[in-house]
């Protein structure tokens, strides 16, 4: 079988076509379950691709995506929540802010930018850390953000969570942004910035000898990843209509890591495949969980499968390569 190799432009058109087809088909089906599932899956794809950039390109191991998602979510909701009810739901919100209403795309962007800002503040400091310390620090970040979200209940309604978030996240919107994120990360990877990042991943010491500003690249990767995570975090509650401090936590961080590991820690197409595969797989397992009442089964299977996978294929399915697309 001849190796299938298409050019990046062709891949781009395939992507747009596939996305359009998917969105139209699922929307047309009118099936609420499929629509929600597809929306969530596409958001997973976005998260996976952005994590591929943050972790995969530069070789960092950040578990912090859920923290940035939480921030993006709460900030966006501040602006999309129906103005009339804001005063009641979020009493601590100053009147000027409460009066502002933004549509979802704008609000999500604001959320993403806020997350990116925090990503910059934290990232500048944290990228200096060694692998395991970075991982633990970003894990700690999740807990810190969750704690603040729980306690600042004047803004977030704390543990009670926010319900009635307007379902403005249409499939078309999500699909559009998914394509955008994929293209963005792809362009980065194949530009000199991306190549420099990959060099840092391979051998940071050597890269620095060549004048590559490793720290700056890591910060860029971190901030971009945080921003995209914040954006995705903003979109999610607008699909499921609820948000709580524990919505994005360790389990999500772990699942994202699993997706990246399976896809290959630096492969965008690998991340897409992997995200789709694992989202489907997890959802199917979840159905089984519901049916049998064995709650927790999905995670056990994912965890064990991941360990087994790592033993067999430590570099993931595709490593750093982009399958099917000629990239030289």
């Amino acid at each position: 079988m001849k190796r299938l190799q298409i050019t990046p432009w062709q891949a781009f058109f395939v992507l747009i076509a596939a996305m359009a087809l998917l969105v139209l088909a699922v929307d047309a089906s009118g099936n609420g379950y499929f629509q929600t599932f597809t929306a969530l899956m596409l958001i997973q794809v976005m998260l996976a691709v952005s994590l591929t950039m943050t972790n995969g390109f530069t070789g960092m191991f950040s578990l912090g995506h859920p923290a940035f998602m939480t921030i993006g979510a709460y900030v966006a909701i501040l602006f999309t929540y129906p103005v009339g009810r804001k005063g009641f739901a979020m009493p601590a919100l100053p009147e000027t802010v409460a009066q502002i209403h933004l549509s979802l795309p704008i609000a999500a962007l604001v959320g993403g930018l806020t997350a990116a800002l925090l990503g910059w503040l934290i990232g500048r400091l944290v990228v200096h850390l060694q692998t395991h310390y970075l991982a633990v620090a970003t894990l700690g970040l999740i807990i810190v953000v969750q704690t603040f979200a729980l306690n600042l209940d004047g803004f977030t309604r704390g543990g009670r969570g926010i319900t009635g978030v307007p379902r403005e996240a249409t499939l078309a919107l999500i699909g559009f942004f998914t394509v955008l994120v994929i293209v963005l990360c792809w362009r980065i990877k194949h530009a000199s910035v991306g190549r420099a990042m990959l060099a840092v991943r391979e051998n940071e010491m050597a890269a620095r000898c060549f004048g590559i500003k490793a720290i700056r690249l890591k910060v860029i990767a971190f901030v971009l990843g945080a921003g995209i995570a914040g954006f995705c975090g903003a979109l999610l509650p607008h699909v499921v209509s609820v948000m709580s401090p524990k919505s994005f936590g360790l389990i999500l961080a772990f699942n994202l890591v699993a997706i990246i590991v399976v896809g290959g820690q630096g492969s965008i197409i690998g991340a897409i495949f992997s995200a789709v595969l694992i989202t489907f797989g997890s959802e199917s397992l979840r159905q089984v969980e519901e049916a049998t009442g064995v709650y927790g089964m999905t995670q056990v299977i994912v965890a064990v499968a991941l360990i087994a996978f790592l033993l067999v294929r430590p570099k993931g399915l595709f490593g750093l390569k982009e399958p099917f697309v000629r990239t030289s």
């Binding site: 060694q130 620090a137 810190v144 704690t147 772990f254 995670q299």
Partner: protein
């Protein structure tokens, strides 16, 4: 001394002891294999549930329970080593990370499946909940027993590491596993032992935790596990006394934070702890007694 202060000191000692017990195992393991063991905190949960099960089944006399929990913790720790770590020795650090994280998730969810997500309530026999007067304050006996037992364990372990042949071997492997092998030391067996020891101590901490707080659930181990990591960092990775000191520093800091700030801040307890973690990692990752790690870029 005000009785409130005495109360807080005792609380700090008690909580600090729990963290110290978990941190010791963590530090031992890290010293030998240079990997953060995310699954370590879950051993605390295993210990707690083991205690619960033994007490509920009413088969075993009270005095035997701690010993059984220690043995069970040892076995559990060794099992985790066999299953999760044995297969990845020599792999890059990130792989080790993911594997131990996966192991932790697997253990937590297995516990959810088999033990149910409902928290269980649980109480030590009356005698431990007895309150004693201490300098004007009213202190629970268990909060005094915990530090005493912990210090005994710490002393015992320190003597073990310093004086016995196996203890010296552990220190040797921590320094140079290659040369240690040339002495005829079986690295695999040693790592197993260290995991077992760490597991035993963490399980004991679980027993105490259950008795002190009266409530257990399958997810209870993760946060203390991370906090134990913080304690290890404070004291300096690879240093046993450091782990113990770090545990107490953390315990006292947490109690002080809750005890001496106005109550509306007490919900931020965990944010404080993990903010502290991030701070220490940034400012002084080698902690109090540890040596600076190999050069980082």
């Amino acid at each position: 001394m005000s009785d409130y202060l005495i109360q807080q000191i005792v609380n700090g000692l008690s909580l600090g002891s729990l963290y110290a017990l978990v941190a010791i195992g963590f530090s031992l393991i890290y010293g030998v294999i240079r990997l953060v063991n995310f699954a370590h905190g879950d051993l605390l949960m295993i210990g707690a549930f083991m205690t619960f099960g033994l007490v509920a089944s009413d088969v075993v006399p009270w005095a035997a329970i701690p010993l059984l929990v220690l043995a069970g913790g040892f076995a559990a720790g060794g099992l985790i080593e066999r299953i999760a770590f044995r297969s990845i020795s020599g792999a890059p650090m990130i792989t080790g990370f993911i594997v131990t994280l996966s192991a932790s998730i697997a253990i937590q969810n297995l516990a959810l499946i088999f033990l149910g997500s409902q928290p269980r309530n649980f109480n030590f026999p009356e005698v431990f909940r007895m309150r004693l007067p201490l300098g004007g304050a009213d202190v629970a006996l268990i909060d005094l027993v915990i530090p005493v037992v912990t210090l005994l364990c710490a002393l015992g372990l320190t003597a073990f590491i310093r004086k016995t042949r196996v203890g010296i071997a552990i220190r040797a492997v921590a320094e140079n596993p290659f040369a240690a092998q040339l002495m005829g030391i079986s690295i695999g067996r040693l790592v197993f032992l260290v995991f077992g020891l760490g597991g035993a101590l963490a399980a004991l901490a679980g027993l105490f935790w259950a008795g002190k707080y009266g409530q257990i659930n399958p997810l209870m181990g993760f946060l203390p596990g991370l906090k134990a990591f913080l304690a290890t960092i404070i004291g300096g990775v690879g240093s046993l006394p450091g782990a113990i000191v770090g545990g107490y520093i953390l315990g006292f800091s947490e109690i002080a934070f809750v005890g001496f700030l106005p109550p509306e801040y007490s919900g931020y307890r965990d944010a404080f702890v993990f903010g502290l973690l991030i701070l220490i990692l940034l400012v002084r990752p080698q902690g109090l007694f540890g040596e600076a790690e190999q050069e980082r870029a």
